[in-house]
Subunit: 135 residues, 2 copies
């Protein structure tokens, strides 16, 4: 897509610090990492988010994210968070699908969500609703 | 694995609120969701984390996570965060690989990490180190 930052990176119009590349995917360092080594895995072709990315390509992206995770661990990280934000409300800022691979060492700016238990039979009702629209 | 909570869920020894199931994967509601509908996608066979999960199975888990994401969006969510925590330091609490699919609506307890730019040529050095151990 002409105006897309990540498409420009794929096309070489904007420089990036590449970590890995194959026919379908590209992995490069996030310029504002949660920790050094924070890598983004993207499809070379433009898809906005997880919903639009074809199944096979999404599977390939996940396998590349694993490959990067393995390398980051070998490089000294103690754990890895994988993240993919879909939609502005979920914190997505570049609307070209991307998987974050984030090395963790200890203290940093990453904080996990806090969960809250369901009330009464809300859980079963929510599951029923999701199952009813599942393809 | 005998003592594993998620293996017990797969085996039916512990109840869960299932959303989806196929030969290789199971998806059920997290009991402490960031928002109602927060779903976990797991392999039926025991693997500790992303590093141990075989490529093909990980790809299948990602495709199931997409399927659940699509359904959750249809159920009324405005966005989706995908997360996978690998290692205690990354917040993993059950050591059976799992992908979180988290519906977002607006205000909740989810907060994204804060990134920090690299200094000097640190970025190129970090990428070189990762590339050198990439298989």
């Amino acid at each position: 897509m002409e105006s897309c930052l990540f498409c420009k990176i794929v096309n070489g119009e904007i420089p990036s610090t590449k970590v890995y590349e194959d026919a379908d995917t590209l992995a490069f360092l996030d310029i504002k990492p949660v920790n050094p080594g924070h890598t983004l895995v993207i499809p070379k072709k433009h898809f906005t988010n997880i919903h639009e990315t074809p199944d096979e390509l999404l599977g390939k992206m996940a396998i590349v994210a694993k490959k990067i995770s393995d390398a980051i661990l070998k490089s000294g990280a103690k754990g890895i968070n994988i993240g993919m934000n879909n939609g502005a409300i979920a914190g997505q800022s570049v609307f070209h699908a991307h998987i974050h691979v984030m090395p963790r060492y200890g203290k940093d700016s990453f904080s996990l969500w806090v969960g809250k238990e369901y009330d009464g039979n809300e859980r079963e009702e929510v599951a029923k609703k999701i199952r009813s629209v599942l393809n």
